[in-house]
């Protein structure tokens, strides 16, 4: 059974600081996604990572994938308050079935 573990589960950081969220998964997979969820809202897709060594960047967020280590990272550069949200990684092993990590709730304080 595919297991997806994220850490940390809660992250409180100051504006302007850098930090990394980690996503480990237990078995070989096709694809990995990162999603963002604002409080009380839906989830939206941030990144799709398809192959070993893939790196995607959007603004202050950068995601990478190491399929050999079964690890993805979401790096936050110079955090701002608007980045406060819950971030989920999701791994696809069987087409049509995304297994989600438990989410990392990020709070960025001034």
């Amino acid at each position: 059974e595919l297991k997806v573990e994220q850490n940390p589960l809660f992250l409180s950081m100051q504006e302007g600081k850098n930090y990394t969220i980690y996503c480990n998964y237990s078995t070989t997979s096709d694809r990995l996604y990162w999603y963002r969820q604002d409080p009380g809202k839906s989830l939206e897709s941030l990144f799709v990572l398809l192959s070993n060594g893939a790196v995607k960047q959007e603004g202050r967020l950068m995601a990478s994938l190491d399929t050999k280590a079964r690890l993805s990272t979401l790096h936050i550069t110079a955090a701002v308050h608007d980045l406060s949200a819950t971030y989920f990684c999701a791994v696809v092993r069987t087409a049509g079935k995304s297994t989600f990590g438990d989410g990392t709730t990020l709070t960025v304080k001034p």
């Binding site: 809202k41 989830l43 799709v48």
Partner: protein, 114 residues
């Protein structure tokens, strides 16, 4: 135009009642899903349909019955509601064939069972 829309957004009901949630997507995607998010924000897949065919049916009680009349619609009917069914239910769609398979979520339906 909302890409994935669910109704209703809120349901408050008594234990033992039956309720339904409807979902429609206008993205032309081939696969639709129901996910359950509990109070700790854990997300778990319940069902997945590809072109009206059930392809994933996780260990969900029989009281939950999905129905897909066509590939743009996926409904969820819940019988004999229990306290533990209280959660946010998200509908989602994706394009699996010739797509990246990322999920597009509806706004969620918050179910409260009293």
């Amino acid at each position: 135009d909302t890409a994935v829309s669910q109704t209703p957004k809120y349901l408050v009901t008594q234990m033992g009642n039956d309720k339904s949630i409807k979902c429609e997507q206008n993205l032309g995607h081939d696969t639709m899903y129901w996910y359950k998010q509990d109070s700790k924000k854990f997300l778990k897949i319940m069902f997945s349909y590809n072109n009206k065919e059930l392809i994933i049916n996780e260990t969900v009680p029989n009281r939950f019955s999905p129905k897909s009349p066509d590939k743009a619609h996926l409904n969820l009917h819940i019988n004999s509601l229990e306290l533990g069914d209280s959660a946010v239910y998200f509908c989602a769609s994706s394009q699996e064939l010739r797509g990246f398979g990322e999920l597009f979520f509806g706004e969620g339906s918050r179910l409260t069972v009293l």
